[in-house]
Symmetry: C2
Subunit: 126 residues, 2 copies
DNA sequence: TTCGATATTGATAATCGTTATCATTATTAT
DNA sequence: ATAATAATGATAACGATTATCAATATCGAA
């Protein structure tokens, strides 16, 4: 039986309020002011729980995991210049169905990670 | 100046010969018989070098990194039942171009990771 | 409202994958 | 052959994440 907790609420709200795909430590640091006694382990624990409940998304590619409070289907781009992770909202072009046709089996979900340059950096660099 | 090495050749060949997307340790263990003195650090080093030269692909999503000697464009599926990573060969449906249209910037590449059940497990489970 | 059961917490140790260090060995151009 | 230096093997160090555990907070039942 899962009980309510102030810390979990705070983690979830923090993630939903921002669009910068923070790491666990980012979330931890930005909640320290609000909850001084907060522990990093608690943030990790709650991120895992929220992910299992499909309330948030873990963006795994690369080293440190990042999290996204927006669970509506969309993709991500890692900018090679600024390192930030951006959202890309677009049609999925029936990717899962197409893959099932080619591969067989039963496909449940998919994630797309683009790499390149975000509009800002793209302009800056030329 | 990059010098030739028996160990790097062995790592590259091992990766090219298999389609099971091994981890660094998998490669290390399967080469131990051939090169008893091989070090795990050497495997990691060479995997990084080969990846930088675009001779192999690192499949990052999730915890432990896996590697693929097949650099032709294709996608992957992680089977929720057996845990294996399978190749999925299919058209990319102009994903990068479409994303650039929606997002702007300059998109270089993309990776797609499907999750679901491979044909074998799909049949077994029903 | 109080009580008891137990889920959650904070602090920290432990784990795991990966990278850095460094003396030794192998490779390559001369 | 020799000198220059890239690569190796062994292992320490690192960073992210997870496990442990006593103390605390939550919540349903009395």
């Amino acid at each position: 039986m899962t009980k309510h907790s102030r810390q979990r609420d705070a983690v979830y709200q923090n993630l939903c309020m921002r669009t910068d795909h923070p790491t666990a430590e980012d979330v931890y640091l930005s909640l320290k002011a609000e909850i001084p006694a907060l522990s990093l382990a608690t943030v990790y624990r709650n991120l895992s729980m929220l992910e299992n409940e499909n309330k948030i998304i873990r963006i795994g590619s690369g080293g440190t995991a990042r999290y996204d409070g927006n669970v509506s289907p969309h993709y991500h781009l890692t900018c090679l210049e600024c390192g930030r992770v951006h959202d890309i909202f677009m049609d999925d072009a029936g990717l899962c169905k197409a893959a099932e046709k080619h591969f067989g089996g039963k496909i449940i979900s998919h994630a797309v990670m683009f790499t390149g340059y975000c509009p800002e950096c793209s302009e800056k660099i030329g």
